[in-house]
Symmetry: C2
Subunit: 206 residues, 2 copies
């Protein structure tokens, strides 16, 4: 058994959340190492590439959220063994990361530049990716993204959709997903009802 520590912001979302959820679903023991936004300037000095999430595994710090997702997904039984199914799972993980990479630069913006950048996301990026993800989901049966069962792909999309629906992203209507790709909202509700996930968030809300 590896000794695992996952270091990330103390938020119920973002780039570490799929890995946290996977470890809860798979009952994988890990240290949930959280810090505040104010602490990040100090924390990042000790992180390779000055980034988080970082998974510390038996003392070695490893970066890159989808690398971490894939590894904990294997530990938790949430990543396909078949190479073709793994390809399809990876396509979803990386497509969502594309979206996160487009949102990222807008987080520090202000004023007219901020509005313009968010409008470009709402007008172009989100429609393109949300429709793509919905089409992939429907092509695989509509319930889960891969192999008709819960996988890291579901957890990654779930975290994105929760964020888009949350109202936390200024200039992004909370009705956007429902308008563009309503099946992704059905999927999001389905994942939220996975017993270990429902239980986890109930515990977080206490």
């Amino acid at each position: 058994m590896h000794k695992l520590k996952l270091t990330y912001f103390d938020i119920d979302g973002g780039r570490a959340e799929p890995a946290r959820l996977a470890m809860h679903v798979g009952r994988i023991p890990f240290e949930d190492d959280r810090f505040t936004f104010a602490q990040f300037a100090e924390i990042k000095k000790a992180m390779p590439l000055a980034q988080v999430p970082v998974l510390t595994i038996d003392g070695l710090q490893v970066t890159q959220c989808n690398a971490i997702n894939r590894f904990v997904g294997k530990l938790a039984g949430l990543y396909p063994r078949d190479p073709f199914q793994a390809l399809l799972c990876d396509e979803i993980l990386e497509a969502v990361e594309d979206v996160d990479n487009r949102i990222g630069p807008t987080l520090g913006m202000q004023g007219e530049e901020f509005k313009r950048a968010r409008k470009a996301l709402v007008d172009e990026t989100f429609p393109r990716y949300l429709k793509f993800l919905q089409a992939r989901l429907l092509a695989r049966g509509g319930d889960f993204f891969i192999e008709n069962r819960l996988s890291m792909a579901d957890l990654k999309v779930f975290c994105l959709i929760r964020w888009l629906n949350s109202g936390l992203l200024d200039h992004v209507p909370t009705t956007l997903v429902e308008t563009l790709a309503p099946e992704l909202n059905r999927h999001c509700q389905r994942i939220a009802q996975v017993p270990e996930i429902a239980e986890y968030y109930a515990g977080r809300a206490e």
Copy 2:
């Protein structure tokens, strides 16, 4: 045996090159579907997410270069079976993709904005990532990135280093890698001498 077609720009580099190299190293038959920059506006209409590379596998179009790299890497015997080694391989694949994602937006820029953006890459992004990659390489013995043998991680870094050294990136000194992380140049030369890779590029030069 899958029927494989890899669609990408007709250049000896970029996001499809590690997968092309892997299929040559592994003697995996595939259709090397190349197009010119002028053709891209038309090509992308037929691509999911309007992106390339796309791997068409038994008629299904799959996007995302590292998903493709991992899949063909498994076919070619260039991707670790052990989950921990796979994690370390993925970290390298995704760290290089981070760099590609930072270079990407500068490709369309002009004038002062272009110079400023390239200067930020040269002053901050490249030093951070090149030193990280060099440290990872040295920690694994200095010859290869994973398991002391050729893997997708080596091919991914090889393509980045060739690009940075090529002179094709304006405002990026071709001495940058040698100055910041000379072991990555030794690694690049080592990978270029892998017989199947040397043979492949000799054929491309004819």
